[in-house]
Amino acid sequence: MKYLIEERRGEAICLLLLLATGIALLVGAAALPAPMFDPLGPAGLPRYIAYLMLVLLAVRLAALVREVGAETAERRRNMLGAGERGIPRAEGTDAPQFVKLLLVSLITLIYLAALTFGGIPFIWLTLVFLAALGAAMSDGSPRRLIAVAAIAVVLSFALTYIFTDVLSVVLPE
């Protein structure tokens, strides 16, 4: 399980999500009324999808355990052969990039929360968002920051004008 979490964390999370979906489908289908117009009824397909998902999940999990077992054995053999050198870690995400992602996510969530709760006009909120997100994604050079600010000003006004005045779209307030 330890190796499974370390080396196949991404897939393990997805399999858990799929398992939760399968269970939710079964629970949701159980609460639906019996068929009225056709033999399948509203619960039929969700139930069959859930059964298939659970069977395939079991198949994939078994294969995953086999693969991880084989990789672990291979790793041990290599460790014995390689002595102190060890085995290089699998390629992961750079820490600075992960911090950047957190920052980008935080700015986006604040923007969306502000749009949800209202109070600040869309145009100003979008201007600040474009500038903040652009700055967070840039390399921080003064030239690029000035360009980001200029683009934020132009785009926030242009997008608001195009969508409200040209396309008559109602924007969040």
Partner: protein, 488 residues
């Protein structure tokens, strides 16, 4: 058809086809973006447009986006789209040898010929195929969708089981909301926000656009260097026709055929055509050294697959690729029923799409010849400028269709899910196709059950549905047999 061609030459259609091809080429050239992303992004804008013009715009983007990848593949060693992956292998070495112009011109002409060959199939096959498909009953359509889903899962990257799992997840997402047959609320778990189901647009923008942005933010941005030198030898000669003629036609036919197969797409078409060209070559050892034939094969086939994929879309309502699945969404947004009845109920759409595909192909060639340098420069735009703009466009697009921020949050949730699945090695294509095809599969199955009093045996006694059932089983079992044979 003739009327559609007369209409397409009016100023408005020509403008939208031009705009679509141009935008398509630009996003196709920018690594990390792509036709699927742009088409999903523009769906809400097309909601306010005339249906014919909207479909023309989207199809033109499709044509442009598959071609645009050529420019960055040759000049920057970066495939702008997955379909240009094989072009990089020999296109960039050609550019390094000072033959960038030659690689680009051959690629553009091959793309153009590929598009024309496959368009002939689109124009000639679609109407009779749609007529034939009108004879399909609910079980035939159900088994056809089933076969498409299994084929998609089989061919998608990763294992068959992963492909099937993610397709089932897509189907599960489509089940939420009112049941179309009985009106009963399904799988809402008492949450008001789920009562309308998960709309197409937030789901598409989430899994294609937001998840891609998350993925790209996690990657370090590397400065892109453009291959220098003059673009000499830019126009192909008569000798090129003799040298590459058979390769272009063969690759175009391969691309068309692969495009017709549901869910396969232009990247696989390029790989198969490349491998075939290699097996026909007298000098396969020149692979990856800047050999013209490989560039020609990859580009002819990936463009041919576009029109090939439009055939099942407009005749059967079955998407030939992920972009076609989004185009089905566009048809639904415009209250049009994709499938054989499109030719009967909305001929202006069906024939308009066919006419636009041809005109877009000509415009693609003209724009690519005229704009190689500036397009390659656009591809180097920093994501600090691009991504914030894309996010704001997604927010406006999703909000405008529902006037509710809850749809925007749904988009974000699906963006995170899409990212997790990408990271877990699950292909995104089968998810979208499962999500789009599930309601169709359910509707046909339940109609069939009602028609035959709950009897499933007509699935095996009616010849067409039996054919699709057998094909589905073969497609599902074949990878397992293949794995066994390899193990021995």
């Amino acid at each position: 058809m003739l009327e559609a061609f007369i209409n397409v030459f009016a100023p408005a259609p020509m403008f939208f086809i031009f705009l679509g091809v141009l935008l398509g080429i630009v996003v196709g050239a920018i690594p990390g973006l792509g036709g699927a992303m742009l088409i999903a992004l523009l769906l809400p804008v097309t909601f306010y447009m005339d249906s014919v013009l909207a479909l023309m715009l989207l199809v033109s983007i499709y044509v442009g986006s598959v071609s645009g990848g050529l420019i960055t593949a040759v000049m920057l060693k970066m495939p702008g789209t997955p379909s240009a992956v094989m072009t990089v292998l020999d296109g960039y070495p050609m550019a390094q040898q000072g033959r960038a112009g030659r690689a680009l011109s051959l690629g553009i002409v091959a793309s153009f010929v590929g598009g024309i060959v496959s368009w002939l199939f689109l124009a000639l096959l679609s109407p009779p195929l749609a007529d034939f498909a009108l004879k399909f009953g609910p079980y035939e359509l159900f088994t056809l969708v089933l076969m498409a889903l299994v084929l998609i899962a089989t061919i998608a990257e990763g294992t068959l089981v992963k492909g099937l799992l993610i397709a089932l997840f897509g189907m599960a997402v489509a089940m939420v909301g009112p049941d179309a047959s009985s009106g009963v609320m399904r799988l809402t778990f008492g949450v008001d926000g789920f009562s309308g189901g998960f709309s197409l647009l937030p789901v598409l923008l989430g899994v294609f656009v937001i998840s891609q942005i998350i993925e790209d933010v996690l990657k370090k941005e590397v400065p892109i260097r453009q291959q220098g030198g003059k673009l000499t030898e830019f126009m192909p000669s008569a000798g090129d026709v003799r040298r590459h003629g058979s390769n272009v036609v063969r690759s175009s036919l391969i691309g068309t055929w692969i495009g017709v197969l549901p869910g396969v797409g232009s990247a696989i078409a390029a790989i198969v055509a490349y491998s075939t060209a290699k097996s026909f070559s007298k000098h396969p050892e020149t692979f990856g050294t800047g050999e013209e034939a490989w560039v020609v094969a990859a580009e002819a086939s990936n463009n041919a697959s576009v029109n090939g994929a439009l055939i099942p879309l407009i005749t059967l309502g079955i998407p030939g690729s992920v972009i076609d699945a989004i185009l089905i969404g566009a048809l639904v947004i415009h209250n049009l029923q994709p499938g054989p009845l499109l030719f009967t109920n909305s001929p202006e759409i069906a024939y308009g799409v066919i006419a636009a595909a041809l005109v877009a192909n000509f415009m693609m060639a003209a724009l690519m010849f005229a704009g190689v340098r500036p397009i390659a420069r656009i591809a180097t735009i920093s994501r600090a400028y691009l991504f914030p703009t894309i996010i704001v466009c997604c927010v406006i697009g999703v909000y405008s269709l529902s006037n509710s921020m809850s749809s925007v949050w749904v988009m974000i949730v699906f963006g995170v899910l899409g990212f997790l699945f990408r990271r877990g090695g699950f292909p995104i294509g089968p998810f979208v196709l499962g999500y789009i095809l599930a309601p169709l599969a359910e509707k046909q199955l339940r109609s069939g059950l009602m028609l035959y009093d709950g009897d499933l045996t007509p699935l095996l006694t009616r010849p067409i549905s039996l054919f699709f059932v057998v094909l589905t089983l073969v497609l599902a079992i074949w990878p397992l047999v293949q794995a066994r044979m390899k193990a021995r």
